[in-house]
Symmetry: C2
Subunit: 352 residues, 2 copies
């Protein structure tokens, strides 16, 4: 089937570009001795997680227990879940996962550690816990290397837990600060007699500088598999490297300078409007997807010499690929213009 | 089960508030002789569509064929789909629906009309087509009453189609302009000898002024069933009327002024950041959900006297309820603090 014959909106995943993106990154990692633990949030597909492992990844990263369960069901046996798991029900699911696979989590407070300890106190083997460190990303994480040491000692003493190391999700552009932060914490913690088995660094924006973090033992890139307009803006690749596109049909041309497509926020998401519009339309570089409602995308054609007509099918590189994967129940794997296979997004919509 | 015992993030739908919102609007409509055709995009649940009909709605509105199919499967027999349906595959689905239920669509160009005509030329009964009119909303729609007349004549001559009237989705606050526009078009078209059976007006923001559009024969409100922060901002109701909330857990308190919850853009969406943060946290009016990543919501507590602790469960009124319904596979119907039933969002994720 030709991709252009799909009902729209639809997601196309270019298999050649996926492979090229994965290989380019694995080659970089191999050349620099960086171990990859890709984040599957971008694709949410067991087949691509397996391909990442085949190419050399040491394991995968997920953000939700539900994602871990899908990936474990698919036969993946080494998963990092860098999140504070809280509450009896989720802790029970986490413990069930430890019976099937190797899974590690993070904590950034004694409250979270105590919850984990209570759930694993009588477990056969201790749960590996890494400390999340806020190295500049301003999300979760202990705020200082001294606080990391204190929490490491708390984990070390906690029943059922094993202190495994440190984890960070640095700010984009903040890789040098993150490296310095982690190195300081590592020294502090080692000097206190606690070994660190893992120091986990993350993010696609600074992926090509992953090797500059010399204390990190692994890197968790996510979006590198598909790339998107945001990553191109970060300089991670070019528009021609972007593997995920949204196919949309021009359903209206109400005025000389306005087109409306059948992809709105339900297909493209409202993410990253600061990039100038809600996506890049291939072949229409001057067109701007200026406003989205749920089922409509309004395109400003003011600067366009050639303008699309009603019925034309456009291919759009979204601002943020990961959220698009979460909006579609299925994606179409394509080779060139042909749909090779349509597959369900197995780990889509896993909120818990 | 107590709502607070649900794994988070989770969606709660307060059944009493739903009923109050539906009744308040139906009472208003009955008092003013306004006929309601609610848009189900907000709830995507057959049970609420049926309740809207029981209370007096004359039919429902959907935005996608997939939504119409779900609602038809649930036994709903009168559906308006105000969208330009383009392409052989979708036209085939539309025609299949006409075999089962009464369904009407819109068009705003001769191209769309010609496609519909080709698909319905040999149908047993003609397809009702309304003309979408851009009365100020700047999305789809013919631009002038004269263009509406021209397209009405085109539909009237098209095989397999019946000109049924006009439809608009006005700009928020633009109800008076929309009424004037439609009245002018109505006169033009009637003077040309073409009767209008339906003039369909829409939107929740100006719902309490629906009766001011005296030429409209029906009104299509959507968000009024749940309301949300955006609608409260429009003055449509109060925060206490909002029926949909997102339950989230505080998973981190990295600093004195920062909390992180397990609801990010995958739970709350990035919609309407202009409202000041990505949702209203009940009980913490000064807290601002300042940034979202997919699985994290970062809350700025700078202005808060009391601050939530790790493990606290927060209830959030989202900026935009409709998109939240689309992000969750299931929602929890609650009465007070008790979960009455957990139901799949049957018409969720219908992109086509």
């Amino acid at each position: 089937m030709r991709a252009l014959d799909l009902e729209t909106p639809a997601v196309l995943i270019d298999l050649e570009r996926v492979e090229a993106n994965l290989k380019r990154t694995q080659d970089y990692a191999d050349a620099h001795g960086v171990r990859l633990r890709p984040h599957i949030k971008t694709h949410k597909l067991p087949r691509f997680a397996k391909r990442q492992l085949e190419l050399g990844a040491i394991g995968i990263t997920v953000q939700k227990l539900g994602e871990a369960e899908v990936m474990a069901d698919a036969g993946i046996s080494d998963i990092f879940l860098p999140y504070n798991i809280i509450g009896a029900s989720k802790l029970k699911r986490l413990r069930a996962l430890t019976q099937r696979i190797t899974i590690r989590v993070t904590a950034d407070s004694s409250q979270v550690v105590d919850g984990l300890s209570q759930a694993f106190a009588d477990a056969d083997k201790p749960l590996d816990v890494l400390i999340e460190c806020d190295t500049g990303g301003s999300r979760c994480g202990v705020q200082t290397p001294e606080a990391a040491l204190e929490l490491a000692q708390h984990i070390d003493k906690a029943a059922g837990l094993s202190f495994a190391g440190l984890m960070t999700y640095p700010a984009a552009g903040g890789y040098a600060e993150a490296a310095q932060w982690l190195a300081t914490a590592k020294t502090l913690i080692e000097d206190a007699g606690l070994p660190l088995r893992i120091i986990s660094n993350g993010g696609t924006p600074d992926l090509w500088n992953a090797h500059a973090n010399t204390v990190a033992t692994e890197h968790r890139p996510g979006t590198y598999i598909y790339l998107d307009r945001m990553q191109v803006n970060f300089g991670m690749g070019t528009l021609e490297d972007c593997a995920l596109t949204v196919l949309a049909t021009v359903v209206s041309r109400p005025t000389e300078t306005r087109a409306v497509i059948d992809a709105g926020s339900k297909a493209l998401s409202s993410d990253a409007p600061g990039l100038g519009g809600y996506g890049y339309i291939i072949g229409y570089p001057e067109a701007e997807i200026s406003t989205l409602s749920e089922e409509h995308g309004v395109i400003d054609l003011t600067k366009c010499d050639t303008k699309p007509a009603i019925g034309d099918v456009l291919r759009i590189i979204p601002n943020h690929a990961c959220v698009v994967s979460n909006l579609f129940n299925e994606v179409n794997l394509v080779s060139g213009d042909q749909v090779v296979e349509t597959v369900p997004v197995a780990a889509r919509g896993k909120l818990t």
